[in-house]
């Protein structure tokens, strides 16, 4: 049995470049792991065996000739909302069950140019709306640490695939916590960059002022490498920011000494599980021992972040999902009576329960008579939350706290009440509302389940956030733990 899965993205890229093993061997070994785990985890919607092996053979030829990009020959997976040319891209929905993307998302194109192999497309909550991966039309994903538990969501397939070491890295997106929350629940590293840092072109839209692509990997060092290859200005995304991408890998070894860490008082609230809190406080002690200074900070409007989000995100969702009309692409009902019937039934059949709930919530808050009371009000409170963060970053370099209130929960435990499910993202949503970079890193276990520490930085401080996470991972070994069934 090969040991490839124990190596991370950085080590695999170096091993391929040094010709210690071939991409065909590596890709074949990971395909076997994916196929062997599919029934238990359901982490993938599409496994691209033949195309991946063909890409691997091509990568081996490049490497043999001394060419190839930084990720030459390394297999990765894409969340199934990144358009991948010639490949079915479902977004976890029946609506896009037959949709074959006619072009590559910028993220997919950039990672291909860097040499990465696309091994498959991962399962996700439908249209990225969910925190447990239970809203997928293609069935729930299971947590590799315990199959009775959810992996988190919406990037549950990408997180489970990396946690079970089926792939060394996977793309993901984060609208309210969909990278960081599953990373915490699966015991891996999840990096959400600043809004505008990674192109949204070809990334199926949910809430356009919040959606941001990022990475799921075992370590922060791997995240630095993968993000460096994904990030950058893209003229095709009108909110892409034209700021140079620093070399996140080169910045990793910068010393932490003197780093001012703000402890977010609002994150250590009554909803936080006492054991989770203990693991997070132990992690903060590690940072102190590395020379960082801790001080408590308060963001008074932060407790309103979930209500703000559940106005803004559904409003943008109802507008974005209006494009699914049963005419140009996506599901169409049988025998429509007229055009209105075509729209109504195609959408009623194509969308699942949670997606319909969010479209209707958004329609309500944007409708005449309610727009000012809900939508404009939420945008004002969003401005106050943003101002709270900006003011906090005048006295501290980064903010830290838990990623989630509890470890992974059981399948079905929170499906009956949407509010209970929404509150799972209580600590992650703030960074989306303010567009800030944030990472979740494993910081210990509670009853054999991983716990995540969250680090949030000012706009465009990805290097600082990654460097802090990397320093923590040099001092600890939580990120190297692999679930027993996949060791």
């Amino acid at each position: 049995m090969s040991e490839f899965h124990k190596l991370g993205l950085t080590a695999l890229a170096a091993g391929l470049r040094a010709r210690k093993f071939s991409s065909v061997e590596l890709t074949g070994a990971l395909l076997e792991r994916i196929e062997a785990s599919q029934q238990a985890l359901n982490a993938f919607i599409s496994v691209l065996r033949e195309p991946a092996l063909a890409q691997a053979a091509a990568a081996d030829r490049e490497l043999a000739a001394g060419r190839g990009g930084p990720l030459a020959g390394v297999p990765i997976a894409h969340k199934d909302l990144f358009c991948t040319e010639g490949v079915r891209t479902t977004c976890g929905s029946r609506m896009l069950g037959n949709f074959v993307a006619p072009y590559d998302a910028t993220v997919v194109a950039k990672l291909k140019r860097s040499g990465a192999i696309v091994i498959g497309k991962t399962n996700m909550d439908e249209f990225a709306m969910g925190s447990s991966n239970e809203t997928s039309y293609y069935g729930p994903v299971r947590n590799p640490w315990d199959p009775h538990l959810v992996p988190g969501g919406s990037s549950g397939g990408s997180a489970a695939a990396v946690a079970a070491r089926l792939v060394p890295g996977a793309t993901a997106t984060d609208t309210g916590g969909s990278i960081r929350q599953p990373a915490a629940l699966c015991g891996i590293t999840g990096m959400k960059p600043t809004y505008g840092r990674v192109s949204r072109y070809g990334m199926v839209a949910f809430a356009s002022s919040l959606d941001q692509g990022g990475t799921l990997t075992a370590s922060a060092a791997d995240a630095a490498l993968m993000l460096r290859e994904m990030a950058g200005f893209d003229a095709r995304d009108s909110t892409s920011v034209d700021t140079p991408v620093p070399d996140y890998v080169a910045a990793l070894e910068e010393p932490l000494k003197g780093l001012r860490i703000g402890l977010l008082r609002e994150f250590f609230d009554k909803g936080l599980d006492a054991h989770n809190e203990q693991r997070v406080r132990e992690a903060l002690k590690v940072f102190e021992s590395l020379g960082a200074r801790l001080e408590e900070v308060s963001l008074p409007h932060l407790p309103l972040s979930v209500p703000v989000y559940y106005v803004v995100a559904p409003a943008e969702c109802s507008s974005n999902l209006a494009r699914y009309d049963g005419v140009r692409f996506g599901h169409r009902c049988e025998n429509p009576r007229d055009l209105n019937d075509l729209y109504r039934r195609s959408r009623g059949e194509g969308f699942g329960d949670e997606v319909k709930r969010r479209i209707m919530t958004g329609t309500y808050v944007l409708s005449a008579g309610y727009y000012d009371a809900y939508y404009i009000k939420a945008q004002r409170v969003r401005a106050l939350i943003n101002a709270d963060f900006i003011s906090a970053f005048k006295s501290v370099d980064v903010l830290m706290g838990p990623t989630t209130p509890t470890p992974a929960f059981a399948l079905g435990a929170k499906t009956s009440d949407p509010i209970t499910m929404y509150l799972n993202d209580i600590y992650t949503i703030g960074a989306n509302l303010a567009g800030l970079p944030a990472i979740s890193v494993p910081c210990g276990f509670v009853q054999d389940l991983p716990v995540g520490l969250q680090i949030v930085g000012p706009h465009f401080s990805e290097a600082r956030v990654l460097t802090a996470a990397h320093a923590f991972q040099r001092a600890t070994e939580w990120h190297t733990r692999i679930p027993a069934a996949y060791a």
Binding site: V100, L304, V308, M360, T363, S367, A378, R380, V381, P418
Partner: protein, 96 residues
Amino acid sequence: MSLTREQIASIATLARLELSAAEVPDYQDTLSRIIDFVGALEACQTAGVTPMAHPLAGLSQRLRPDEVTETDHHELYQQNAPQVEAGLYLVPKVIE
């Protein structure tokens, strides 16, 4: 606050969503609870605060020169369409 069956039907009409009779009570219940939950915003003092429409404050929308940059891909794109004839998307008759 409790949304009525009629309000749910009206929202579904605006959103062009067909709901079965069995689905309505659940949406009545959950949407009412969500609207109550976001009602917490009402108590927040926001007088004089400019609504935030872009997560990166101070950035304005970029413009590009008015030049043709894309080529015609309609045949490729129409491969994903449910019904196409002679390069046209087909829908039920709209005008008698």
